[in-house]
Amino acid sequence: MKISEVPSFGNLSGIKVVCTGNNVAAPFAGYLMAENGAAVICLESTKAPDSARMGGVPLGFMTERRNELALSLNLDSKEGQKVFLDLMKNVDILIEGYKGGTFSKWGLCDEALWEVNPKLVIVHVSGYGQYGEPEFVSRASYDLIGQAFGGYSACNGERGGEPSRAQPAAGDYFPALFACWSGLAAYIGTQTTGKGESVDIAQYEALWKVQWDYPSFYFTTGKEKPRSGAGESQYLGVDIYKCKTGNIAITLCATGPIMRLCKLLGVEDLSEYEGMFVLMRGEERAEKLDKMLADYLLTLDAEEADRIFNENQIPCSMIMSPKTMEHHPHALARNLFVEWEDPRYGTMKAVGAVPKMKNRPQQYWRDAPGYNADGRDILSELGYSEAEIDKLFADGVTKDLPNQGFRAAQLPCKSN
């Protein structure tokens, strides 16, 4: 498939994006753009495919590479770099997810790319950034490494327990979302000024950026907020409660819901709770109300509690999973899940367009492409002749893989 054959739809129609990197942190940014009409080329190395293809059934890849074209190139070779520069002449945004400094090492530094396309937006996504302590810049990183260095694991876990991890891949999705919005912001700036942009996203910094008052609490008081399990470190009433059957999440952090809860629980002297914003831990009346709430919930099934509390406009939700969500009336009313046919694996179903766009909505027009599925088409679009393309294949600058790169993860050991 050629770049020019991507259907016209969505807010990003006409924008051309090349995205290269593994799994989530860089590719998910390109994928969101592809859902909104950008032409997105998933560029994979000739040395190894995107590691997301490697699962037994690569479900994450199948979900998050829809609407994309696929090209393979050897960027660690002179010829591959030349093809890459030809490609860069024709795109608006490059998103790359290699270790800091890798593109410079290949001779593909920002300046070299701007030489062929002065308006190119370059988004670097890496574990530790493009500069800083050299020993860190060259470090490899994954979701959990980012969560650890990003101070995120330290915030999570049970009271007094070990640091923990936010699943799935919060350490990757946060930088991906930063890559997406900042790539678009940089594109807008480029259109205004005529000059391209280079964005340096360090995974750990994206995670430090989304920690509300945790950092400034420390800087001001010299104290660290403790890990607090499902609850809040300072407040009661923001927690997961046990019901007679199942669990329920509740958040009490405004006067209205607190007063309505008091009435629901039959508190005799309502004036005691008037004007209360939060239930401060250690405060007698707050502890009393929290105890009453916990006792009351033990008499209800989760479904019952969910209905009663929401009727009373007290923020609460059941703990949903794909199984309980699949037939949920609200999910059905909003088409949360969509189905599509994949030529390899049959009927697939996953999450559809989020958020909903009213005037130029997202569309799904293609399943996740096979490895280098569009290599020939894209290269011929860049002006390469059939003979030249054959030579690039022969020289290993681009290549195909058996079974289109979809294969089971290899067994780790001979003894297995």
Binding site: S13, G14, Y128, G151, S164, T220, S321, C413
Partner: protein, 434 residues
């Protein structure tokens, strides 16, 4: 401060954004734009400030409302509505975080707003969306509600006891980041076509959107992904490891390079049991489990600092589990200026997280701290052509307001500059009426 007083810088210079809604889910989207040069007007209610202002120590609010202008308008009043419309005529992007359908109830439907400004990008941020079941649209939502309804809790934490909440406010931040990128995408579409856009961001749906292959796994194979703590279900040499000096590191050995590197560190690189090309150490595989045992012992035998350095030197991803205190001396954080100080009109010198990400040609910057409730009412309205007399009249009618103490009236820490005093007040607060 007037809209024209906003300094010129950044990739979003010239963009005007109006934002309203409480803490994070909507406001953080606008804050990111403000950090990159957009003129952001944050609109609060006349009768109560943003909930972030009234917390005991409003650290989050003052961190995430830098670089913004502030107005307080009563939207339920017909004149307040008119003032709001006048502002929207000059606005590119509106981000609102009220419950689903509230804007329509207020008489401010998308259609009505486009009649006034056809290129307006409207971003609705809510718990359950702008359409669907009426009962759900009315539902109040906060971060944990989104984490629960969004399927996020069901795959987090250890198998027992209950599903955990993930801190800090994962759901609110994810939602805000969706609001931010989709607003900018919609702005690009509006510029191209001349027609505005309405974006419907639902917290619950955002959480479902960020679950990689887990939903597909369930639909495809019927497997509900288990809660698995810090471990991976299918492979090992991955997770939290305790080191000799009592500190934890996280190790993530995925792909061939790291796997070979790990074997080298553990002195097994010449062991013929392990093939040249290893992608993962599979759980249950005898030889792989031997590597896991050796790795655990290696960590216990060495200090965390050495483990981190040596594994990284051999290409094995590994990091300390940093907290806000330990990151202060980290050479990479210092080198890149992760933290920055700024001066807040009310609270004095403060320190928090710097601009993220870094832009090379049109960098973001901070030009001011969070401002008081309604602080820029007068300047902005006079810029829109309102006379002083008219503005006074609007104040008298309660269409505009500036709440006492800058709206931080529940904060006992507001006049305090010294951290010891804050600690004392926090102790006292436990025994005092709020």
């Amino acid at each position: 401060m007037r809209m024209t007083d906003v300094p010129s810088f950044g990739n979003l210079e010239g963009l005007t954004v109006v934002c309203m809604g409480n803490t994070i889910a909507a406001p953080f989207a606008a804050e990111l734009m403000a950090e990159h040069g957009a003129c952001v007007i944050y609109v609060e209610n006349t009768d109560r400030p943003d909930i972030g202002r009234v917390s005991l120590c409003p650290y989050g609010f003052i961190t995430e409302h830098r670089n913004e202008l502030f107005m307080a308008i009563n939207l339920k009043n017909i004149e307040g509505e008119q003032v709001f419309i006048e502002i929207l005529k000059k606005t590119d992007i509106l981000i609102e975080g009220l419950k689903g359908g509230t804007f329509t109830e207020l008489g401010l439907s998308d259609k009505r707003l486009w009649a006034e400004n056809e290129k307006l990008v409207i971003v609705h941020v809510s718990g359950f969306g702008e359409s669907g079941l009426a009962e759900y649209l009315r539902r109040p939502s906060y971060d944990p509600i989104g984490q629960a309804a969004g399927g996020f809790m069901s795959i987090n934490g250890f198998p027992e006891p209950s599903p955990p909440l993930r801190a800090p406010f994962v759901c609110d931040y994810y939602t805000a980041l969706f609001a931010c990128w989709s607003a900018l995408a919609a702005q690009m579409g509006a510029q191209r076509t001349g027609v505005g856009e309405s974006v419907d961001v639902s917290q619950m749906e955002v959480m479902w959107k960020l679950q990689y292959g887990y939903p597909l796994e369930y639909f495809y194979s019927g497997v509900v992904h288990p809660r698995q703590g810090n471990e991976e279900r299918d492979y090992i040499c991955f997770g939290t490891y305790l080191c000799g000096n009592g500190r934890y590191v996280f190790i993530c050995c995925i792909a061939n390079g790291p796997a070979r590197g790990l074997l080298k560190v553990l002195g097994k690189d010449n062991d013929p049991t392990y093939p040249e090309n290893i992608q993962l150490f599979r759980r249950g595989d005898v030889a792989a489990e031997k590597v896991e045992t050796a790795l655990k012992q290696y960590c216990l035998d060495n200090e965390a600092e050495k483990v981190e350095k040596e594994l990284n030197a051999n290409g094995v991803p590994c990091s300390f589990i940093h907290d806000i205190e330990t990151i202060q001396t980290d050479p990479q954080a210092l080198e890149r200026g992760l933290f920055t100080e700024w001066s807040d009109d009310r609270f004095g010198k403060l320190k928090g997280v710097n601009i993220v990400p870094k832009m090379s040609n049109r960098p973001g910057m901070f030009w001011g701290g969070a401002r008081d409730h309604g602080a820029d009412n007068r300047d902005i309205l006079s810029e829109l052509g309102y006379t002083d007399k008219k503005i006074e009249e609007l104040y008298k009618k309660g269409v505009l307001a500036e709440l006492r103490d800058g709206g931080y009236f529940a904060s006992k820490a507001m006049h305090i500059k010294n951290r010891d005093q804050i600690n004392i007040i926090m102790e006292e607060e436990k025994n005092e009426d709020f």
